[in-house]
Point group: C2
Chain length 211, copies 2
């Protein structure tokens, strides 16, 4: 089994943390997105969409999409559960995980991709040809992140974790969003969001966070 | 059990088709997005994010996010399976489902929301306050749809369905994307995409398509 990975990108990190929580290891192959290695024919022969991460099983099966890779590991290595244990908890965690993507990750990606000079003609990720950056998306993305932080703070005022009482894939996505928003989009957690600060310190202290 | 629904919107339709495939029925409450009923306090008390669909269980639990609602039904009513039956098929279908969202639904939504006059200050869906439309996203969305159609056509040249040999949630998302792209974003399936035309006619003939 091999994981095609890119250390600095938020999506591969989601999978690395998920694997670390379950104690799963495998061969790691680095693909440098900044230098466009994800658009080279070598990688496109693995994942024609040109996006990371991608998991290649021993039988040659390729699984792309972070959450789909996590699903594979949740099914093959159920302990500890990170995607719920019954119908309601599975649905709730999936819902919260998607909130973190749509409310947080999308905004951070908009703010970063449309302001980073190296991506001026790569306004969208992956194998999509030339897509010019749209400057108006920088502010839209930053505004999304402001709403995201406030909403997450409200939630964490009465819950230990993003999807309730237990650490889950929703926390993993949220952690990757916060760190990516801070370092790439330059929108850190506001000082007033004390619940997010508390939660962030806690999940960042887990050994998996450095995977 | 109650489904908060909006007939013309693509996301609630995904859930209606999923339910119809499994023979699940429940009370249906219409919320008119065009008139902004999804942003009224009545609906925000159900789903503070102001997005549809939302499912309310008999014990009062609210599940939002289309795919999370589908997950709940897949768990409580497994037949026929629409999200895979083992680790590899679950991961593959989840991956393909997400391709349909990111490559197709996002583009259709960008093209529609940023060109429809009634949404000039609602450039993003849900309870996000004023977000001005960004005209440059109309062409970006339409270009995404062109790539989406070509990629789907290539795939359907050697597979019956979006995720392989079996009808799945990935087909449901793709059907809703194609019909929404056609009628709302005005980007119909190109004549040259004969495989998409064949598949579209076939899945549209299923009784669930009119749910």
């Amino acid at each position: 089994m091999k994981l095609y990975d890119s250390t600095l990108a938020p999506n591969p990190r989601r999978v690395r943390i998920f694997m670390a929580e379950k104690g799963i290891t495998c061969e790691n192959i680095q693909v440098n997105i900044m230098e466009g290695e994800n658009l080279d024919s070598d990688f496109l022969s693995i994942n024609p969409r040109g996006l990371l991460p991608a998991l290649v099983l021993d039988d040659g099966t390729v699984i792309d999409e972070s959450v789909a890779i996590c699903r594979y590991f949740e099914e093959t290595c159920p302990e500890p559960p990170l995607m719920g244990t019954d119908a309601k908890s599975k649905a709730h965690i999936e819902s919260r995980q998607r909130h973190m993507e749509f409310d947080g990750l999308s905004g951070a990606a908009e703010a970063f991709r449309n302001s980073f000079p190296g991506f001026s003609s790569r306004g969208m990720g992956g194998n999509v040809g030339t897509v010019n950056a749209i400057p108006a998306l920088v502010d839209r993305g930053k505004n999304s992140l402001s709403r995201f932080y406030q909403s997450l703070d409200d939630h964490l005022g009465s819950a230990a974790y993003v999807a309730g009482d237990e650490f889950s894939i929703a926390d993993i996505t949220a952690l990757c969003v916060v760190d990516f928003a801070t370092f790439a989009a330059r929108v850190p957690v506001p000082d007033a969001c004390e619940n997010v600060q508390r939660w962030h310190a806690e999940v960042s202290a887990r050994p998996s966070a450095s995977a």
